[in-house]
């Protein structure tokens, strides 16, 4: 195995009866990077994590984690893995400190180091004031932070983070993202699944996009945005809400992707810019509505994602519970 590759996956497949949850995916994660696994719910992100952490056996293909084969050597690999599942599942009855000490014991952290490490993590995650609070009494953001802290108690080389900021308020999510970014600086490789595109853009060094169990593209966020730049991205704001505008433009611009930002604002990805501008002006004239703003914008990762997957941000937003 290439020593720089902490995860090496070839043709990994998971089938549940006739359903292919993960379909022959291949990718590699380099040491020290934050690797984003991006896709809507049901794309196969969690199933992939479960196979890579030994909770589920692959149906076909191979996967090596930290050099260990996941089918036969996963217990050795687990000594160096931290896993943060989507649900914060520490023990309600144990205190913040009690949970960390238990995890330390479970992972074989020596007794003398256990307490010191737990205190260090509580400080790092700004939970030192809640050291003696039962897990059940912590806020959602604190519970999430403590769940991540618990996964770090044994100094893992590789951390799996499954949707770390789902359900958190903006401030808590921002704080957690800063902590995750800090982990990379400490040399921890992070495998992050998310359907928050902006989160992936902010944190990830490289991204794989997973749709319906298949990896459709892998690259850096800059590469993704660069690819999106090859087509134009035009944003238009009308002076008032314009019902059916998205459908009308999509009808006359078959080569473009029309995305509704809000009732009065649209984003048109791809297509011939001249045709796009013409279609917008025609629509405004026809509906007798003024154009408040019309400009070409820098494509975001979301634009790239839409171009690659054909999924609308509305679908992603729904999956996020918005």
């Amino acid at each position: 195995m290439n020593v720089d590759r902490v995860i090496q996956v070839e043709g990994l497949t998971k089938a549940y009866g006739d359903l292919l949850a993960v379909d022959q995916i291949s990718f590699a994660v380099q040491e020290g990077e934050i690797f984003g696994f991006l896709g809507p719910n049901g794309a196969g992100k969690t199933t992939t994590i479960r196979m890579l952490t030994g909770l589920s056996q692959p149906t076909a293909g191979t996967a090596r984690v930290l050099g260990y084969e996941v089918r036969s050597e996963i217990v050795q690999a687990k000594k160096h893995l931290g896993v943060v599942p989507e649900q914060s599942n520490l023990y309600d009855e144990l205190t913040a400190m009690g949970n960390l000490l238990f995890m330390g014991k479970l992972y074989g952290v020596p007794r003398v180091e256990r307490k010191r490490r737990a205190e260090e993590l509580l400080r790092m995650f700004r939970l030192e004031d809640r050291e003696n609070s039962p897990f059940a009494t912590l806020s959602r953001g604190m519970r999430r932070a403590l769940t991540i802290a618990a996964a770090l108690v044994h100094h893992p080389k590789l951390l799996f983070l499954d949707e770390p900021t789902v359900g958190l308020d903006v401030a808590a999510a921002r704080s957690l993202r800063a902590l995750v970014a800090g982990l990379r600086d400490q040399g921890v490789t992070v495998f992050l699944t998310t359907h928050y595109l902006e989160e992936a853009d902010l944190l990830c060094d490289r991204i794989a996009i997973l749709v319906s169990g298949k990896v459709v593209r892998t690259g850096t966020p800059t590469e993704f945005k660069g690819a999106a730049e090859e087509g134009s991205v035009i944003e238009v704001s009308f002076q008032q809400a314009l019902p059916q505008a998205r459908e009308r433009l999509a009808e006359v611009l078959p080569g473009a992707e029309v995305v509704e930002i809000n009732a009065a604002k649209l984003r048109i990805l791809g297509g011939d810019p001249a045709e796009v501008y013409t279609a917008i002006f025609r629509l405004a004239q026809e509906k007798d509505v003024g154009i408040a703003r019309l400009n070409t914008v820098q494509p975001s990762l979301e634009d790239a994602f839409i171009q690659i997957t054909g999924l609308s941000p509305a679908v992603m937003a729904q999956e996020k519970g918005k």
């Binding site: 952490t53 030994g54 909770l55 687990k78 893995l81 599942n89 023990y91 309600d92 238990f102 074989g108």
Partner: protein
């Protein structure tokens, strides 16, 4: 590797003791229920009560261990925290054994209290060596049975309901209150495949003699424990597939 497993088992047992032993389902089915039964039998017939002590100790062992299993396994299945244990660098077998031992220890505490209370209050004599010889494998067998059944369902109430089937079947067929020898032939055969029968028989030997039966009963109970543990481990592994 086995050192990691042993450390993991002990960590799970300690955590379960601190976390779950005072949960309402463990208290109601594992403590209140056996004590209520014992009191009911005592009030019905205080004079003949001493004869029932081995059966009631065995019943306490059965109820307390299985009630504890429903809590230590199904609470964690529901909350997803059992998965956390399976992510640790220990085998599935270690996780299952940790749960079995956690339940057995809860049962030991309960059963020791009932046995000690009975011995002191009634002034009955007991061969302590034989008592321990039978009680430990009995606790392991019942705890393994509980763990095996609890892995099949998700919720604590489902587990308690499922557990009631073998629990009540055994109370009436295993000689807790009614001697197996006095039952119809077919029921006697059925009683021979129930672990509680051997626990009651062995404990009777420890209290009233002869003691030799205790060794056979202990061996049979260990066999039951093994017979429940092996499929239980497999079911737990399969549950997360």
């Amino acid at each position: 590797m086995w050192r990691d497993d042993l450390r993991g088992i002990w960590a799970i047992v300690q955590k379960d003791m601190r976390t779950y032993y005072l949960k309402p389902p463990a208290v109601s089915w594992g403590i209140v229920f056996p004590i209520t039964w014992i009191l009911a039998f005592y009030l019905r017939s205080p004079r003949g009560f001493a004869e029932l002590v081995p059966g009631l100790i065995a019943m306490t062992a059965l109820f307390s261990t299985t009630a504890a299993e429903a809590v230590v396994i199904n609470f964690e299945l529901r909350l997803g925290s059992l998965e956390r244990l399976l992510l640790a660098p220990i085998g599935v077998a270690a996780v299952f054994l940790g749960k079995v031992l956690g339940g057995a220890l809860f049962g030991l505490l309960m059963t020791a209290a009932v046995a000690l209370g009975s011995i002191l209050s009634l002034g009955v004599s007991v061969n302590v060596g034989h008592l321990v010889l039978v009680l430990i494998p009995a606790l392991l067998a019942f705890s393994s049975l509980g763990a095996l059944l609890c892995v099949l369902v998700r919720e604590v109430f489902e587990a308690q309901t499922l557990l009631n089937l073998p629990r009540f079947l055994m109370i009436f067929l295993s000689g807790v209150v009614y001697p197996v020898a006095a039952m119809p032939r077919a029921l006697q055969v059925l009683a021979r495949v129930l672990p509680l029968t051997y626990a009651v028989d062995g404990l009777r030997g420890a209290f009233w003699g002869p003691g030799a039966a205790a060794y056979v009963d202990a061996l049979v109970l260990l066999g039951f424990a093994l017979a429940f543990v092996v499929p239980g481990m497999r079911l737990l592994a399969r549950r997360f597939e």
